[in-house]
Amino acid sequence: MRLLFGSFFTLMLAAAIGLGATWFTTTRGVAFGSLTIGAWKSWPKSGSTDIDPYARAAIARTGELPLGMGDGVAFYARTDDAGNNLDGRCTFTISGMTPAARYWTLALYDPDGRLVANAIDRHGFTSAEIIRDAEGRFAISVAPRARPGNWLPSGGIERFVLVWRLYDTPIGVATRTTKEGPMPAVARKACT
């Protein structure tokens, strides 16, 4: 009786530990070989055959197609530089420099990867359409209400994700330091 109870307990615990760990790692985006620059996180290996099993499982679950390594690199931001969650009810500014790339795009999604509805039908910027100052720097305001300059509407949703994609770039698996890849700073301003 004791043996039966013990083995039942063990099996239940094992299932809970195993499935819980799988759920946790595939939903939270635990993948090895990540490259973190400020608030931005990238998994360059996910775009190659060197992709690790955790990233493969996460991609199979979400249904996305990762950017191929010969194509570009995607950086994801879910917080600002100080670690605050990206809340659509607050204003965030993205400013500074970008790593070398022929083109880049910035897009705003909800946490499930859907675009966010807004009145001006803008979901992101490309390097060609952004307004820069005389020194080539730019500032983007992510805010629920209209802002002068580069305004990226966040639709006032509770959480959003920013994805910065660099196309035709030397940034990749070999990149180690932030010196090689100066990513733009993300900072929270006022909240409404």
Binding site: G6, G18, P66, G70, L115
Partner: protein, 183 residues
Amino acid sequence: MIRWLLWIFGAILLGGIVHLSTVLAMPKAATQDAYSRLVPLTPVNAMVPLAAPTADASIMPFMDPAFSAAVCRYDLSGGSIKLNAPLSQAYTSVTFYTRNSVAYYAIDDRAAGRRAIELDLMTPEQHADLPEEEDVTAADRLIIESPTATGLIVLRALAPEPAMMPMVRRALANAQCRIGPVQ
């Protein structure tokens, strides 16, 4: 007490095995991966443009809204595939994915270096069966080996400004993906 610790230790070991095997099995068991989402939308061995992502509907999550995309869902069991993709003005790339969404090859317009991206896709067996003639293996045709018999070729072209999107779509509409022998 010791007996319970042993039971818990066993549970942790077993849990580790459950965890690793479910992670490894997930790509095979997934029903909502990119390939499965594209099956009802795309014919086999033909290049079809994908609907641009909007706030209401997006075929796959995290699609780049600045890009127009076309996809060829291939099956190499009937022979090798010829891909011909004209380049749009700004940036065009082709990425090859296996059945389980692993990107095994990607090339952009600058690396392709011509007016169009032209290449042949085949399984390693089909590649080995090619006659070893000088002109066939010459470098002017790019030959890609697919690790799986089925998979996805995704063609992406950038519209640097939203107004350029119709032009980019027209350029993509001329892309071809069909079964054909290497010439």
